[in-house]
């Protein structure tokens, strides 16, 4: 009796010990990240030749599936030897699994560029396409400002110049939509030339008993408002340094405080829809189409929906600067595609990326509501789409397309989202808000 008990106890103890010791004994293998093989310096050929033979490229992406399907069909027609297999994921799934996907042995050949790609590029999981940029002449086909967003702040080992970790297929930009009928009712007859004039228009709308500005701050809609004001007040170079994580950069400066104060002031004045913090961005857009507010902050991705529902009753302008002659600056990014360092077909991937810069691809991109990298190659859009194209052209000419502020660090989106909600509700001081952003920045970019 006793002995069996003892045996049982000993067995249990042994099992426990094994369970405990196994992971510790295998320490080296279990050290997180040790199983990841960082690929060697895989290079991109500096010629545009595509070898013969059947090739299948796997393309993983999260935005605009219809556009991707159309682009693939058009590309395959011109390159019968190359098949492209699209793998669609929802945006949140895509972003959350991006690092695991791109470091796995089965990484797709081509993948949509997203936050987090910067780290992957730094670790060598994404091909530096700079040699292709020279070979294919992408600098001519694509505005440089759009390519600069895809350098991850790095220089290229292969060419000695700027690195390049993706090619855009369609560009985006944020700004202000306005309901023309309601604006007229409030005595507003033209888009504002300056930030001060815009504030007067907001006040006029309030005076006319209308909701001046629709904001969907439950998700990321609020950060577009803050970033739009920041873009006007903070020097663009300093903003770039901060987003790119340049040593010594800071968001705790007087210009950022001023922009942040404006968000609070507008809330105090009652310029926002009353439940901005409880409204998702898509819902604020839907409310705007119903005439719930005079203005709406959103991006060009909403233009298709707005044009369909509101027709000629909607217009668009980029957030104006301090002076009538101030450069046009707006947050924007691109639906871009990067190439995995593990791909076995860099030439075929290069051919696909180059196809994205052609007029044929441009027309497909434009038809799907995005701005093509080379706008001269497509038919002129009409209505609100024309307003956006014109605003984007001005911003590109002024080198004024800046990335979204959440690109500054992986955790920045959460800080921004909850921070702007507090600003709208007047629950935080500008200095404390900016301090929380800078803390996160320093946490990620180190000392």
């Amino acid at each position: 009796m006793d002995s069996t008990h003892r045996v049982g106890r000993r067995l249990a103890a042994t099992l426990c010990a094994v369970a405990l010791v196994l992971p510790l004994a295998a320490c080296d293998a279990l050290t997180p990240g040790s199983a990841t093989v960082v690929p060697g310096p895989t290079g991109v050929p500096s010629s545009t030749a595509v070898p013969n033979g059947d090739v299948t490229l796997r393309l993983q992406f999260a935005d605009a599936p219809l556009m991707v399907d159309a682009l693939i069909a058009a590309f395959e027609k011109g390159h019968p030897d190359i098949a492209v297999e699209p793998q669609y994921k929802t945006f949140s799934d895509y972003v959350q699994n991006l690092k695991l996907t791109m470091t796995s042995d089965t990484a797709p050949d081509i993948a949509q560029y997203a936050v987090g790609m910067t780290d992957l590029a730094a670790d060598g999981h994404i091909l530096d396409l700079a040699p292709y940029r020279e070979a294919y002449g992408w600098d001519k086909a694509i505005p440089p400002v759009s390519l600069d967003q895809l350098t991850a702040g790095q220089t290229s080992a292969a060419t000695g110049g700027r690195a390049l970790f993706g090619v855009p297929a369609g560009l985006s930009m944020t700004g202000i939509y306005y309901n023309k009928e309601l604006a007229e009712k409030a005595g507003i007859d033209a888009p504002p030339k300056t930030l001060a004039e815009f504030e007067k228009q907001l006040a006029a709308a309030k005076e006319a008993d209308l909701t001046p500005l629709g904001v969907g701050a439950l998700d990321s809609g609020g950060l577009h408002l803050w970033a739009a004001l920041l873009n006007q007040l903070m020097p663009t170079d300093e903003y770039w340094d901060w987003v790119n994580g340049k040593k010594g950069a800071t968001i705790e400066n007087p210009a950022a405080v001023e922009a942040t104060e404006l968000v609070i002031d507008w809330g105090r004045e009652g310029y926002y829809n009353e439940s901005a913090n409880g409204t998702a961005q898509v819902d604020s857009t839907a409310q705007f189409t119903k005439g719930d507010s005079v203005f709406l902050i959103n991006g060009n991705w909403a233009a298709g929906q707005l044009a369909t529902v509101m027709g000629d009753n909607v217009g668009f302008f980029p957030m104006p600067g301090e002076q009538p002659g101030s450069p046009t600056v707006a947050s924007g990014f691109s639906v871009s595609y990067a190439v995995s360092a593990k791909t076995e077909h860099p030439e075929a991937a290069g051919a696909f990326l180059d196809f994205l810069t052609t007029p044929e691809a441009g027309q497909i991109i434009s038809d799907n509501g995005f701005m093509p990298p080379n706008p001269d190659a497509v038919k002129k859009p009409t209505g609100v789409l024309a307003d956006i194209a014109e605003g984007h052209e001005r911003a590109v000419a002024d080198d004024g397309i800046t990335t979204f502020p959440d690109f500054a660090a992986p955790a920045m989106l959460d800080r921004l989202r909850s921070g702007v909600q507090k600003l709208i509700a007047d629950r935080v001081k500008p200095a404390d808000y900016l301090d929380s952003l800078q803390d996160e920045w320093e946490d990620h970019h180190g000392e």
């Binding site: 069996t4 959350q96 690092k99 780290d119 439950l218 009353e274 439940s275 409880g278």
Partner: protein, 297 residues
């Protein structure tokens, strides 16, 4: 060895056989619950972004958790949710058990089915539905406006003062039915003669409930408290779907932060440490509940 009496060895073998039966389940449990848990604890000692080589930081992540105001705030929020997920549903469950258990009425099955319904709907669907109900033009606000309470109506999930309460009430809605079912089944075990005896002694319905029903529900109460408290402390889906922690950090809970830290912020070690702390907290509270409910007997 050969001198050992055969009886003893057969007995020993029989005792061993019990372990053999347990072994498959045990191996499964170790492989899919114990080892991953230990691995999580191990990961919590590293600073790791999920991709590159991790860096050993010892208990550094735990120190960071204690200092981070957002993490502390999330624990506070989870404790507030205990009121809505555990206390209120248990009181409501007791109330309906007291009202319904002793008297047979037609349509009782339908009534139970209705209250049990939230239990069989996936929490994500519950969250989406309530997001609509709480919306600007949702049913909640429509009802308030219909009775002239226009000034009270608001986007509840975006309001700094009410968001946490609004999320908590969703949990109340989900878990009240569970508590009611538990208590109703508990009451059915009570010997009817006890009620008869109580009535002969002149007890009214309230006295009957306090002196007969309640003492017999001690076991069910312990189960209900454990299940609902764990649901509150480990809450994730409802919060994620309705508010994603906002506005500000008003509804941020530890479960949400574990998910965010690991998957979107690339701080896997910190997420693991928070998960460990949360597990220890839950185990501690469950232990306490069980101790207290046993002591009272």
């Amino acid at each position: 060895m050969g001198s050992r009496p055969p009886v003893r060895s057969r007995e020993a073998r029989r005792r061993w056989r019990g372990y053999v039966y347990v072994l498959p389940a045990f191996a499964f449990y170790v492989a899919f619950a114990v080892l991953p848990a230990l691995h999580t604890a191990y990961l919590s000692l590293f600073e790791w972004d999920g991709v590159t080589l991790g860096e050993w930081v010892g208990l550094g992540n735990y120190a960071e958790i204690l200092q981070d105001p957002i993490l502390r705030r999330s624990v506070f929020n989870a404790l507030v949710l205990v009121v809505f997920f555990a206390l209120v549903p248990i009181v409501l469950g007791l109330l309906s058990a007291g009202l319904l258990a002793r008297y047979r009425r037609p349509g009782m099955g339908a009534y139970r089915f209705l209250f049990m319904l939230p239990q069989v709907v996936p929490l994500v669907a519950v969250g989406v539905t309530w997001r609509w109900l709480y919306g600007d033009d949702g049913v909640v606000n429509q009802a308030l406006r219909a009775v002239g309470l226009d000034s009270v109506a608001r986007a509840w999930l975006g309001d700094f003062d009410f968001a946490l309460i609004a999320v908590g009430l969703v949990g109340t809605w989900v878990l009240s039915g569970l508590c009611m079912m538990l208590f109703l089944s508990g009451v059915q075990k009570v010997d009817p003669s006890l009620y008869e005896a109580a009535r002969i002694d002149g007890a009214g319905p309230v006295r009957e409930f306090v002196s007969v029903t309640l003492p017999h529900l001690r076991g069910e109460l312990a189960v209900a408290m454990t299940v609902t408290t764990v649901a509150a402390l480990a809450s994730f889906d409802i919060v994620y779907v309705t508010t994603n922690g906002g506005p500000g950090e008003q509804t941020t809970v530890p479960g949400l932060l574990v998910y965010r830290l690991a998957f979107s912020e690339g701080k896997v070690g910190l997420a693991a440490a928070l998960a460990v702390v949360l597990s220890v907290l839950i185990l501690g509270i469950v232990y306490l509940i069980n101790r207290l409910s046993r002591d009272r007997t």
